[in-house]
Symmetry: C2
């Protein structure tokens, strides 16, 4: 069996490039694209945004298995409340709008979803609980469901499109679309995996903290989808934070298409698949953090030799979320005192005299004090890089963890102080 | 018995005013000052800072009772390690330097303290554990104790000074000195209470998160000092946060002088005293938060009708520490969606449909959605104020809490990205 799928970099018009890439330090040189079989992607300009597409509808050829992870927020958006209540692991269609999060919209927000998902379920002849919903954008504003319904009514006249358009349609303050595509061979079958994501601000784990959709071109049970998520979530989407702010809408959906059957009882097969899922999740989450609002540098905090995974994780996040660490990195200042502060404010029990900290390979402190052979010239050169690795060896155990954050600079303020105006 | 104490506002030279007040939105119009009896205040320009005094030594006429609260950080500074190990509630002298925190300086940092406190203890003939030490400034840099010793040697030639000079000598990025003075009558005795504090960045509770020294002009047992601290800490110093970053050096010291005896077994007396201590602690902590680095607006988050004090507190801090709430306030944008987000990311169990939020008296949302009679004109006028009160009524209990924070703006970035350069 052969597929007419294509994995290629997209050629964008200069205008498109300008819009998408303006200002991003880590702007991708090219974008992975993919036009899937087995599901149909439609994008629309519904009117949530002034220009640009803001509505995505994906219709699956047949009912597919899906597993979702949502924000742990205690003030979830209407789509999260809806999906959690209705969906039971089967999906026929997905509707995502950007520009309005339908969050803290009370009963009205739920009625809005009921209204437009009803229209779609009649149109494509599926049950209402087979439609998944996401929304991203402004919190607290009620919108007229007709904005979406008007587009649903145009579905049959629309051409299908590819994942890059899907990624663009769900963007908010993102400066570039985020897509990822993998091809792998299992039991002599070629399996495509592809996904897209959005996210730029309000990014701190507890779960994935943005919207991400990943599709696997083979049949996988819900149990195995769950396993794949659990195995790969912490080291990918749950390892990033732009601002420590957890969104009301964060959602990750992992879909399995009914295209091929592979034997996942073979441990080897599961491992190959899981590694590919990791790659795609890591890749998408890195694109999200690298597009962190206003980012000029990526901060990677690696904590080694902690007493527990949890301790390593808390300290890594305490570092990348510290306003003082983030501003120091923005100012290209290897101010390691602030890293000591950030370790301390995690309140994790450490032995201060065993801590070694380095920027990249350049040690700044060890045995509880400044490193005697500290090479400030080298460090000042290192701190000018776009990716700053802060390595913390706690010297008290065997566990490690990595967290990814960004610097805090004028541009972050500009974006977030002017967001609604 | 009569004292020659004076409580008056200080007249500063225009240059002094310029230095102290530049850029602060909440710059005090005048400063409380007080020249104490019962202890001698000396300030010096030791050389940690380029200009301005940077060393404070206070010598008590006799051994006094003291109780201290320190940062809960797991990477405490050398002075905190030293004080905690040696001091047993009695004090003859206090040494505070600004410009170098003597933090993460390992055994060397302890030796430095040993060296200079030894010199002082010989000079004033007291035990080494009767000298309390604080340091604030850059973390991780070792300094030569001679910088301090040289000044100790000049002690006998120095004139004593007042608390405003003390407050100035311990400033780092503060834009104004912070003093507070109270006079109260207990059992027909006039009791002066006075204090000073510093703090501007790296401010988030878990304990007081700056340096603060308060002196009560009467004899109080250590047990009662502890009670006074415990009763008043949470609603004062522990209710503020500039940036969520907990310092390695935060210290609050409450001294009782051996000047007068009052009967604190009388409940009424203890209440009067405790209320005065609250006033002085609240006043100093408000001066600290109002001098938050770069601050243009003070944010006061009041959480009402929570299930527990702890829940109210967590939500109040989640709001004032959210980068997105802080930038919205900086941009004069009453973006209440971000407050919903901040409530959610506390992960406290709430009933979203019972939440009412208002800016000042202006309701923005109620019953889980936007307020039908929302008055955007009034809200947009309100948000231009210097003090923004965010009121959150959770509607699920009877507990409340207040937290004070500041906005996040260009100036905070400027201060913290350029701090060492």
């Amino acid at each position: 069996m052969k597929h007419k799928t294509s994995t290629k970099d997209l050629q964008l018009s200069s205008n498109e490039r300008l819009f998408i890439e303006s200002g991003s330090v880590f702007k991708p040189k090219n974008y992975k694209n993919f036009k899937p079989q087995g599901n149909k992607i439609y994008t629309f300009h519904a009117g949530f945004k002034k220009k640009y597409d803001d509505l995505l509808i994906i219709i699956f050829d047949s009912l597919v298995n899906v597993e979702c992870v949502y924000s742990k927020t205690s003030t979830p958006s209407a789509p999260i409340i809806w999906d959690k209540k209705h969906n039971n692991g089967k999906c026929k269609a997905l509707i995502v709008n950007s520009g309005n999060a339908n969050a803290h919209t009370g009963k009205k927000g739920i009625e809005i979803i009921k209204h437009y998902s009803n229209i779609l379920s009649k149109k494509i002849k599926c049950k209402k609980n087979e439609i998944l919903i996401s929304s991203t954008g402004i919190i607290g504003e009620i919108f007229d469901p007709k904005i979406i319904i008007n587009q649903i009514n145009k579905l049959h006249f629309k051409d299908t499109t590819h994942i890059l358009d899907a990624a663009k349609a769900i963007m908010t303050t993102d400066t570039y679309p985020k897509t990822s595509v993998h091809k792998l061979l299992i039991d002599n079958e070629i399996i495509n995996i592809y996904g897209f994501a959005k996210g730029s601000g309000m990014i701190q784990p507890n779960m994935g903290t943005m919207l991400a959709y990943i599709f696997i071109e083979c049949k996988i049970s819900n149990l195995n989808l769950k396993k794949l998520l659990k195995k790969n979530l912490n080291s990918t989407f749950n390892s990033i934070s732009v601002d420590g702010d957890t969104s009301t809408s964060d959602t990750l959906m992992l879909f399995s298409l009914n295209k091929k059957n592979i034997n996942l009882k073979k441990q080897k097969n599961f491992k190959i698949l899981s590694a590919a899922i990791y790659d795609i999740m890591f890749n998408l989450s890195q694109q999200v953090i690298k597009d962190g609002e206003g980012l000029s540098k990526l901060i990677q905090a690696n904590v080694f030799k902690a007493k527990s995974k949890n301790q390593a994780n808390n300290i890594a996040f305490s570092i990348i979320n510290s306003a003082l660490v983030k501003t120091a990195i923005a100012g290209q200042d290897a101010n390691w005192g602030r890293i000591i502060m950030a370790i301390g404010k995690s309140f994790e029990k450490v032995n201060q005299n065993k801590i070694t900290i380095s920027f990249g390979k350049n040690i700044v402190c060890t045995k509880g004090a400044i490193y005697k052979k500290i090479d400030l010239k080298k460090i000042n050169r290192y701190i000018k890089n776009k990716i700053i690795k802060i390595n913390v060896n706690l010297g008290i155990g065997n566990c490690s963890s990595t967290a990814y954050g960004n610097d805090l600079n004028y541009k972050y303020i500009k974006i977030n102080a002017d967001y609604r105006s």
